[in-house]
Symmetry: C3
Subunit: 335 residues, 3 copies
């Protein structure tokens, strides 16, 4: 396994957003995650890197998938994990979010994985921890409609691994066409992916109904192209198609007419696939609404779908993130 | 500790039902569980057999007892455990059960312990995992009114241990009279026990109100005897009396008139005990409704009740099952 | 690390109440907790003291703070932990509390941490376990309005550590003035603190509205002084001010007129601080209602508030308690 004695820059104290990530940051994540993917191919898929350290999963918004992924990543690094259940918590007793975080800091938490339905909560917790002089790293595991950095990083790792499974590199994404389809407006996954994909110089296209694709995005990311129909212009030669989860509560708010119509207009299916590159691959952050964002037969085609690989790579990428933030790059090697 | 280098037959890829278990399978479970019971008598009750492996407890139906039993069994084998909470899960976001299982497979789960209120779900998951080529073993921890194999195996282990604590054997059950009392119709515990007890050539009697004991069972198990009254004919010379849990929702469906009347007609008490063998022992899968299936004084008599032993043996039997399925018998020894 | 080969007296079989604790018991806790605080200052904050042992957290009443504190303390002693979730439990299936505890005993639990909204439940469980001959220690983690021993012990450890961080001793509390403010009537924290503080010969004052400070307490603890106003007489020269959590449900019962008025009459603020000793320190068991029991600026002043230290010390004190009860003092040293 490669040595990883790196001097991490200041921004690596927490992981809150990808807005200030540069190519070197992405490359560091890919390289570290590739090392951990190798660990996961061993008979004993565990390393002692974070032995004696405590990872607290503060999921103020419920989650099975992301919470279990971080939990398993922490356990495979030999950390102890604490889980916070919002339903039965001190919050219902009038405690503030920051005081809850302070309590976990005082208990000896080394890494806080924070999800909240309100944008900015992980940042606010990180600021407060820094003010208190706490030696704790905060990881944003999804905050409102803002960002979901670990998801975008596992997407990046999964796409780059298509070109080199052993040594994935950000350079392989240059000029690749990535089409993101769906509810861009409310998607923290899309927002984090826009930062990573544009920095890696991919050619990014957004597709969705006008109600769900804000034209203002072009002011922040002038290089992206926006389409309001999932037609041959949008998909022509696409290397990767990334489908976003349609949240049913959007229906009530009249952003889209019906699930059936959404699938007809923006669902990925065999007909539309023909417009893409012959090597096209499909991604979805899950959980999938089968027959809405994507037809079942495409989803189950292992030559097309990277969805399972995204989940698998999620463990390696989150191990990499916990390792980098938890050791501050002071460790010489993973094992 | 005995060496356990066995070549497991194909049926041991998953544990879904006891319908195809033969005497050799039961003997293998008893022998392996006895080895783990010895581990549990040590000062440090832990072995490294499943170090680095992941056991996911997918309890779509809530459970404290069985989930904690599997969880502790996994931890004592040094596995890492993931827990799935249906309330806050991706299921509520429109994901299918099979896609949930696929996600846990993709995360790197080695053993899935599945409970669901619908019969057949563990089988469906196992089929899907096999189709995907996943190296994962599925254990049925109770599916609808179908089967609950680990419960029947711990019942078997507990009964056979009465005749030889060190080396329990299925042969000791031959011609022993086992009386199962209660709601046979809805009981997955009864169904799994019918497979194991008849294969081990015990003399099985079923007792319950006509609404709850389906006569069709005699077509599948022609050797069993059915009684509609808990009288001296049913209990005469009984070696083991197995009480089933009465679920209160049965009341609403008018299967039985009242809890009080149920106890009068089918509750085990001191008077009825006299008809049994002087060495009779009582079993109950728990949780017990005291004063309904059994009177409190019988339940608390350590010379009669095997209920606590069932719970204790549950850990050893589930360690054995996770070990056999998790190592495929490729391990030479437990320690 | 100091050797801890002690012969524990009989009362140390369980930890249910501080009513029968003598000075030597408190001193033993302080000394052991100080050893574990040293462990927590190491790079790897874990010791193998309880390897292979099982700690079951039976929180019949929901809790984040205390449950996580005990959970982490157990994990840092290398124990395996089981968690009981009352919502989805066997209790809802008609099982009695004692039968639930018996099930955890039969599974092989070595230490039970019990919280219940009804006073006396931990004692009842301990009695039942003893009757069954179970080798299990029961720790009261809060029972109704009765006691919360581990909270009072961490309060004691935190106060005594002010006088000697390395070797805190109960003797340092003699004649120190401790003022406890708030809802004494319903507080299990206050009750446990009254036992420890009076035994350590602190000068204890209670302050609160007449509806919430029962005068009968003076019959059990004749040495305490009661005040119905938070004035200069109550606070004069106070070394420690301990604020109790105001539970909002008290409002509905008309024990106090409004949160705003409560803060005006009994909230700790900068004006009232002047009456205390210049070295005064503030304690609160948390979670805090900011601006009710205490003004935000006092709570956030690290020269005044010991609240974070209480949480941090909670881990060391609970490790000490689990260690003492789990090894029965038979261990020669922690490491």
């Amino acid at each position: 396994m490669a040595n990883l004695a790196v001097k991490l820059p200041q921004k690596w104290q927490h992981l809150l957003s990808l807005a200030d990530f540069c190519l070197a940051d992405y490359e560091l994540v890919l390289q570290t995650a590739a090392s951990f993917r190798e660990v996961l191919s061993r008979r004993t898929k565990k390393v002692p890197s974070l032995q004696g350290k405590v990872v607290a999963n503060l999921f103020f918004e419920p989650s099975t998938r992301t919470r279990n992924s971080f939990d398993l990543a922490a356990k495979r690094l030999s950390a102890d994990t604490l889980n916070f259940a919002p339903g039965t918590s001190s919050l219902s007793k009038g405690e503030t979010i920051l005081d809850t975080a302070r309590t976990f800091l005082a208990m000896g938490t080394d890494l806080m994985v924070v999800r909240h339905s309100m944008a900015g909560v992980p940042q606010a917790i990180a600021n407060d921890m820094d003010k208190l002089g706490g030696q704790v790293a905060v990881l944003n595991a999804g905050d409102g409609k803002h960002e979901h950095p670990s998801q975008a990083l596992l997407d990046l790792f999964t796409m780059c691994s298509q070109f080199s499974a052993e040594t994935p590199s950000v350079h392989s994404l240059k000029d690749r066409k990535v089409v993101i389809i769906g509810d861009i407006l409310h998607s923290r996954v899309a927002r984090s992916n826009l930062w990573s994909l544009t920095t890696c110089l991919a050619e990014v296209h957004l597709v969705g109904p006008a109600t769900l694709v804000p034209p203002e995005l072009a002011q922040i990311f002038p290089q992206i192209q926006i389409h309001y129909a999932l037609d041959k212009y949008a998909l022509a030669g696409a290397d990767f198609v990334m489908l976003l989860r349609l949240q049913s509560e959007r229906m009530e708010q009249a952003f889209i007419p019906s699930l059936r119509e959404y699938h007809q207009l923006f669902g990925m299916n065999s007909d539309r696939l023909k417009w893409c590159s012959p090597q096209v691959k499909l991604l979805h952050p899950g959980p999938v609404n089968r027959g809405v964002e994507i037809s079942s037969n495409l989803m189950d085609d292992p030559n097309l779908s990277l969805i399972d690989q995204q989940v698998t790579n999620g463990i390696a990428v989150r191990m990499a993130l916990l390792f980098l933030l938890g050791t501050g790059g002071r460790e010489k090697a993973i094992v």
